[in-house]
Symmetry: C2
């Protein structure tokens, strides 16, 4: 049977679905409506075009309307907004943006991939702020680019420290602007946990970006040239980028009575069908199932949009394909750093009351004896009993996203932390260590589960010390010059066995070293000698990264 399929939205989800639909059926009639001028463009490249890393605008246009129509034999109608769905009649009402003219088009199956839109809160003075921008598409990009070229702004305030906010802050800084980033939460990059995000926050500061946390915009004055913060502070700015998040483009779906979820996304079943089985929906507009928590989630990322689109196209063509949910694997470049994450973070696990354990490690990106190795700050979250992997975060200069991709793959395979110890990952000195950081994370986690190795987290350290707990630093004395936890005693690991009689058996001994490894060795020695010993997970590095960020707040 030759179908007539209508697609709403012509970029990541829409264009991918169109391509796959055509490949599966040469004869079906496929109409792709796109409200904007451009289809199939590289949303994710927009900040880098603004910053100049991508030098040519046409690079952003992955496909033109003409080329794509021809290649896939599609009926692409850009500057055409679908304004209404008549589900009973199986028609859509389309508005030609240029002429204002409206017309109906019938469908057998309808696919919605309308994306998301930037959140724009009702801040006083926002309507008058002429140099305030959001970034979602090519016209947004052109506006920002033109403003920078013509007005030569010297300073910018980026509101919101999510992926796009951080990317924009970096790219504007690369252009030579004075950049301030304002974020309501106590950290940037919400997918990371506080102590991990603290590394990025420091990185931004080192590159001269002023980061203001736990503060928001109260009001804009002087046509947006003056920003009044909720704290009462004031910022002057030649331009503002507002990037406090996106929300699903759900109006069309909502108006036509499709079920919308609690988080505002279109609800779909495992076949990516909406509450109307002839209407499929994919991409930023839908609610997906969070693979870890099983809860509905909004995960506005290009990979899931592309994958969902192909699955929806398969289902429309009569194949039964299911979408199993989203892990939320994500990555972002911050100057010469990379931050990546997958699965749930600790904040999410806590919010859902899930039971979990945490390890922090700082292994080298490759063998220490081969030049150029840099630390990877790695956090792994897992269940306390079976060691099921719940999530991971990593930050560093090199090899970061590789480790997250490996863990994301392990999660898809249902592997545990014990399985991580057995992964066989590529090893030669320029690439890794014989025990890859992922293997090592598995070991550290397995020791907690199998042998009950006790750890405390960085945020529990101060309380231990305040309540008079015994904190032992097993680093060499000279290492303490680089910083140390207050009120700790020092017995270097090499002397521990000879100095056991200096330690009490009546109370727990909290131990830390630089990264956690020697602390763990000390714990093993003490435990086997009848002491109660607890390691500070991630050692001084995790503690100091997290707490120095608190200090410079």
């Amino acid at each position: 049977m030759t179908k007539k399929v209508i697609i709403v939205g012509g970029v990541a989800g829409g264009a991918t679905a169109a391509g796959r639909l055509r490949r599966l059926d040469e004869k079906s009639h496929i109409i792709m409506f796109e409200r904007g001028e451009h289809v199939s463009f590289a949303n994710c490249g927009l900040p880098y075009y603004i910053g100049g890393a991508i030098s040519k605008r046409e690079k952003l246009l992955v496909q033109t309307v003409e080329a794509m129509s021809k290649k896939y034999r599609l009926d692409i109608r850009n500057l055409s907004e679908v304004v209404k769905i008549n589900r009973d009649a199986k028609t859509v009402l389309v508005k030609n943006i240029k002429t204002g003219e409206q017309y109906e088009e019938s469908y057998d199956d309808l696919l919605l991939s309308p994306g998301a839109k930037p959140v724009v809160p009702p801040i006083a003075g926002i309507a008058e702020a002429e140099q305030l921008f959001t970034l979602r598409n090519i016209p947004d990009t052109d506006r920002i680019k033109a403003f920078i070229t013509e007005k030569q702004p010297k300073s910018a305030v980026v509101i919101g420290g999510g992926f796009i906010g951080v990317e924009m802050a970096e790219n504007l800084k690369e252009l030579g602007l004075d950049v301030t980033l304002v974020e309501m939460a106590n950290q940037v990059l919400a997918p990371l946990d506080y102590e991990m995000a603290a590394i990025i926050r420091q990185k931004l500061s080192h590159h001269g970006i002023k980061v203001i946390l736990e503060d928001g915009v109260q009001e804009l004055q002087e046509n947006g040239r003056q920003i009044i913060l909720k704290s009462g502070g004031k910022l002057a700015a030649d331009m503002i980028v507002l990037s406090i998040g996106v929300k699903p483009e759900n109006k069309l779906a909502e108006d036509s009575g499709l079920t919308i979820g609690e988080r505002g996304g279109i609800v779909v079943n495992q076949y990516l069908q909406t509450s109307d089985p002839s209407i499929y929906a994919v991409g930023d507009a839908i609610e997906v199932t969070d693979c870890v928590s099983g809860k509905p989630a909004l995960i506005p990322l290009a990979g899931p949009a592309n994958r969902q689109a192909r699955i929806a196209a398969d289902n429309i063509s009569g194949r039964k394909k299911t979408y199993a949910g989203t892990l939320g694997t994500a990555v972002v470049k911050i100057f010469d750093y990379t931050a990546a994450s997958t699965g749930n973070n600790e904040k999410t696990l806590r919010r859902y009351g899930m039971d979990y354990r945490t390890v922090h490690l700082h292994p080298g990106s490759h063998a220490g004896y081969y030049p150029g190795a840099t630390p990877i700050h790695l956090k792994l979250l897992f269940t306390p009993d079976e060691g099921k992997i719940l999530g991971a975060q990593a930050i560093g200069k090199s090899g970061v996203e590789k480790r997250i991709d490996v863990i994301a793959t392990a999660m898809k395979g249902g592997l545990t932390v014990f399985d991580l110890t057995n992964l066989e990952l590529s090893y030669a000195p320029p690439y890794s260590s014989a025990k890859d950081p992922v293997n090592m994370a598995g070991y550290v986690a397995a020791n907690i589960i199998e042998d009950g190795i006790k750890t405390i987290q960085w945020h529990e350290v101060d309380e231990v010390i305040q309540s008079g707990g015994l904190m032992l630093d097993v680093r060499e004395p000279h290492e303490q010059q680089g910083g140390m936890i207050e009120n700790t005693r020092n017995i270097p690991l090499g002397q521990l066995r000879e100095r056991l009689d200096e330690l009490p058996k009546s109370e727990p001994i909290y131990i830390h070293c630089q990264v956690g490894l020697r602390g763990y060795l000390a714990v093993r020695i003490l435990l086997d000698n009848g002491f109660d010993a607890v390691n500070v997970d991630g050692g001084w590095v995790t503690y100091s990264l997290a707490t120095s960020a608190q200090l410079i707040k």
Copy 2:
């Protein structure tokens, strides 16, 4: 119970086992015997120290005897060779290399990690060749380094094109020597298949290394300054590195009656016990089960040695841990290229008569619109029915080992090519594409299984053409200037739908493009229009890489 454990071999497997044994039990008596002077050194770094990338010799010494003895409270005896095992008495006979003195030492458990030794064939004249070297340990390295410093050789012949041979060829070239690599097989790097290895062979040639394939050394003359090849050719060389492989150090085990496998490795069970349950063995000396074929295999790599060592230590300490076999994931740097592989290659699958399918892709390391993307040549092998992953190989400048690590992890998780399409891998423009190369490999493979998309491999192309088959090039005419398959017709993909009447329905139409993607799109169009169409897997790129290597042989 406090045990006395003896370890034979003090490097990768031995040292790792010693550390773990100590962590698990402070009180056991652990003696580690090492024949050489050094323990716990970085075998894998040796070529890079010779080449100068690793500048300091002490970097190679991960642990000294003194430091390691202290850190792990070990009884380390270097320059001490275990020459005999008396299994009934549970003792070993030890020879002090310095004094020649021999003594017995008893054990409760014995762990063998004696490694492997370079294969040295009985070539005529080899004993007289003073400037012929093998590379396994620090003394070997010192010898080579001293020879280069003192004798200032201008030319080197590396015999054997495995990992160590290729690494040595590169490192000697970096030192400015004229390097010739001689290899008996028709390709370098045996873990790769021919057409993949061809890329590396070209790379070596581009860097000025002369590669001679399908030839071996017949005789050495003039104290090794003259090499006579089996082909009759002659090579002059100031130095020779012999690296034609390693074989298990099995003599001690064999002499003491432990079962040795068909491939010469010590046979162990899943607990890494030899045929004597008080004797464990790990590392290069043992036969492991190849995870894919289920056959015994020798896989002399550091990662497996380290992992096996920890498992054996766990078992010695009374935990029941099993070793599930080895995938053989490996990686090597070749100048600015990386080659990595996991699982079985096509040669192995063919040798074992296993049923498999192949796909070749050449996706970018990251989004094409972000600067710096380079192609990854990726090969995936899988079962024709369920899409079980059998192996993968990848070569390129960037992101290569990441994709192999992801696939190796998927294999450990028992995932299929269909699961690869659903992996959620980190995507932002500097790192990948919304459809990661691994997802893409999954798609290409899934199309073959699900939709019966037919492909032929590069080595079948010439036969198709010779037997008069119709080969259609769907690239743009100007692309043919970069090279083309002989006797093909050209209809660019964009014109295909209009020119269907030029094509016959009576015979299969073989299609190729640059990398396989447009060829696939053309196949879909033709199939849906009632033609019989077959895609050339990997397109012109795979075909030309493989065949141009044949030409320059």
